[in-house]
Symmetry: C2
DNA sequence: CTTGACCTTCCCATGATTGGAAGGACTACA
DNA sequence: TGTAGTCCTTCCAATCATGGGAAGGTCAAG
């Protein structure tokens, strides 16, 4: 099976499959004489595992740990649970940060008439000389949501 | 006032001030003969405005819009409200995605004994041949939380 | 006049992902 | 056999906001 087929079968883009190989998340594959990568059903299985972990928001680094724990049939379930719960707490912190942002903004927007007049509490809050941080301490790096 | 002072007064790092200038979010400053950037109180005020908007998770692109609306004393509050509410809906979608991830993981972890035995429903779910996506469609790009 | 703290520009790295270019390989069809 | 079209390969670049650091100029205090 070539990379395009493995991609379709696993839901991981060919680009990402090559990337995962380059960073060592998955081992280098067998190649045909022409240099084409060849994948087995087991490889596709691994790729699906990786995709599901990505869907759950695990980082590539965490996924590497999960994959090796997956391969180790003797590992303790505690080790897996530790990673999962650690990730849950990161997710929950992130959720709280975003909820704070959203509720602050909603509160401001509720007090903004939203008509053609210039008065606007949203802008006024952002411009407020006296209120240092708008929120306590929401790590701005996790607030940015890209150009979605 | 030089850039270090402006940074301390606004809470925006000197690195970011230069970056914001380079991308046109803030105008080029006056320079001393030696080439040092010089900032006024008004500039610091603008930087604080920007930092607060960042704290609320606005993208630089959105901040550019907010800054120009801020400067325009005749603008309609509707324009500001539209940006804010658009951002709120993005935040809320993101929150729902993360909540789905967290609840799926918590559910799996609750059923994982977390002891030294190998049985682990978390790994088993990730490895499950039959369940295509773990979650409906959580954009993986927003699931990754960096190496926090 | 030296020391240290500041400033300047420039380049690089992050994380996961996508895009594209240039070129080789394979398949199907005439 | 030729050729068109689709696949594959590698390499390079961009995203977004931010930090790190190097090399070198400037400034203020001692």
């Amino acid at each position: 099976m070539n990379i395009g087929h493995a991609s379709a079968a696993s839901g991981v883009s060919a680009k990402m499959i090559r990337y995962y190989e380059s960073i060592g998340l998955i081992p280098k594959t067998v190649r045909t004489e022409a240099g084409y990568r060849v994948y087995s059903e087991q490889d596709v299985h691994t790729l699906r595992f990786i995709r599901r972990a990505r869907d759950l928001g695990f980082s590539v680094e965490q996924i590497a740990d999960l994959v090796s724990l997956w391969r180790d049939r003797e590992r303790a379930s505690k080790d897996v649970k530790t990673i999962a719960l650690g990730h849950v707490s990161v997710l929950e912190r992130k959720i709280r940060e975003l909820q704070e942002m959203a509720s602050t903004l909603k509160h401001l927007a509720e007090n903004c008439s939203g008509d053609s007049r210039p008065h606007c509490p949203i802008i006024e809050e952002l411009a407020n000389e006296d209120s240092p941080p708008v929120l306590a301490k929401a790590d701005a790096r996790f607030g940015a949501l890209g150009k979605a």
